[in-house]
């Protein structure tokens, strides 16, 4: 079966997940993003690529930051952007997801950017839109957050130049994290030497070994000689039951402090998808320290989302 993100010519027409995308497609997105980065320094920070196209931001789950970066990206491509807070409108009145999409398609949407608390919602939408409409997943349940993974890949490539010799550690709530999943697929496809997951046993999902990931429950061992550390947010709102004793206890064992950072290589990058819980998963001195590239991630995120939108919009229908 064809990957549902690709059209019959093998071009990326939806971005639902980094899983199953070839290295060529991932590189194409990163290369395209690189050409958008210098735009931010121009007088006019826009290009006319998506002039006349309509981008609908459908956020069934709140996220001001992600929605804003998609909005900036679409605006810089000259698209018209419409933000819909679905969680307080139609869905609350009982309309089904597909009815909502059918109605919005009738308003001549070209791209849907979808965030949903249910895994698989963007895929369901992609299956039901017409071939000239494109869906970009802005995070679905525990499943995937592909643009976050791509901007992480961009940031790593920007600072480390190549993926081939890198050891990357993903630290924290891997169990609930769509960012972790998307990053593992992208890192593996781009050919890093080793991917590690570091977390308390209760927050490590099963199946990581099958994905080629080495698991650790101890920061000293897990961070030893790594090149890149991707911290995850402790997702309090996703916690069900007593997986952790307390956030204080968590910080003591898994919070990234300067002391624990010293286990990694001296030039290791510190990344975080935001929003950060300072004092829970990361210490301020590390978050604001010289190895932190957290704000670079935000800046590169705009260029990466511009690249994704222009690539899917340019796929033949």
């Amino acid at each position: 079966m064809r990957n549902p993100q690709l059209n019959k010519h093998g071009e990326l027409t939806h971005l639902i997940s980094t899983e199953g995308l070839s290295r060529d497609i991932l590189q194409h997105i990163l290369d395209t993003a690189q050409t958008f980065v210098p735009l931010a320094e121009r007088d006019v920070k826009k290009v006319p690529l998506l002039r006349g196209k309509s981008v609908f931001n459908l956020f069934f789950e709140n996220s001001t930051r992600t929605r804003t970066t998609f909005e900036i990206a679409a605006t810089r491509l000259s698209a018209d952007v419409f933000n819909l807070n679905i969680n307080v409108s139609s869905a609350a009145k009982g309309e089904t997801l597909l009815d909502t999409i059918a109605n919005l398609s009738a308003m001549q949407a070209d791209i849907f950017v979808v965030r949903h608390e249910s895994s698989g919602a963007p895929y369901l939408i992609a299956r039901h839109v017409s071939p000239d409409v494109h869906v970009i997943n802005a995070g679905d349940g525990r499943h995937a957050h592909p643009t976050q993974a791509l901007l992480d890949m961009y940031t790593i490539r920007h600072f480390k130049k190549s993926f081939s010799n890198l050891t990357v550690a993903i630290v924290g709530d891997v169990l609930h994290s769509r960012v972790a999943r998307s990053n593992i697929h992208a890192l593996t496809t781009l050919g890093v030497a080793e991917v590690r997951a570091i977390a308390p046993l209760t927050l490590l999902p099963s199946g990581l070994a099958e994905m080629g990931v080495k698991t650790y429950t101890d920061m000293a061992q897990g961070l030893k000689d790594v090149d890149v550390i991707i911290m995850l947010r402790l997702q309090n709102e996703r916690m069900r039951g007593a997986l952790l004793p307390s956030s204080h206890e968590y910080f003591k064992h898994f919070g990234l402090t300067q002391e624990k950072l010293a286990y990694a290589k001296p030039d290791a990058l510190v990344m975080h998808p935001g929003p950060m819980n300072r004092g829970v998963e990361i210490e301020s001195a590390v978050a604001d320290g010289p190895q932190s590239v957290i704000l670079n991630q935000v800046t590169f995120g705009i260029a990466v989302r511009m690249a994704v939108m222009s690539i899917v919009a340019g796929a033949s229908s």
Partner: protein, 180 residues
């Protein structure tokens, strides 16, 4: 001298054309304040030419290069192609005299895109266009201020500029690409 692309037995060499282009640009800019003149090459052939012109003309100002992919008018038909080199205009274009350099002028669509992009960097004092080869089959009201060689008749191939490792140029014929 106007020639057909289908009868290229007496095609001039790229190096001979380059020397003509160099003299053409020299004449074109001689009355302009040199510190306000910047060459802007369209990637990739035009940028190669602009680099060498920059060396030979010894202009005081930096040169720039343009990747016009985001300004093309056929995005809806062909989408985005592989991108590697971004545009680089590392000087303020406002009130400067810009010399846009390209290898082949054909339909004029590339130049339309380049002008739109340039104006997103600011308002230049003037823009002139110089090309190595003018194929004279325009679809838009655009013309070159100087061209080193003109080809008149409709033809079945396109002329492509190549650069050797030593930095010298050569020309060869490839099957038609209609969007030059």
């Amino acid at each position: 001298m106007t020639q057909s692309l289908d009868r290229l037995v007496d095609m001039p060499t790229a190096e001979a054309l380059y020397l003509k282009l160099l003299e053409g640009v020299r004449t074109l800019i001689k009355d302009l304040p040199q510190e306000q003149v910047h060459l802007v090459g369209i990637l990739s052939g035009g940028a190669w030419l602009a680099e060498r012109l920059q060396q030979d003309l010894k202009l005081p100002g930096a040169m720039g290069s343009l990747n016009i992919s985001f300004y093309r008018d056929d995005f809806d038909r062909i989408g985005l192609h592989n991108q590697v080199t971004p545009s680089e205009i590392a000087f303020d274009v406002v009130d400067r005299h810009l010399i846009v350099v390209d290898d082949v002028l054909y339909t004029g669509r590339t130049i339309r895109a380049a002008m739109n992009e340039l104006f997103d960097y600011g308002r230049p004092a003037s823009v002139k266009l110089v090309v190595l080869i003018d194929r004279q089959e325009r679809q838009l009201p655009i013309c070159a201020d100087f061209s080193a060689w003109q080809i008149a008749e409709a033809s079945t191939g396109s002329v492509v500029l190549a650069k050797t490792e030593q930095g010298t140029f050569s020309l060869h014929i490839e099957p038609e690409t209609p969007d030059a």
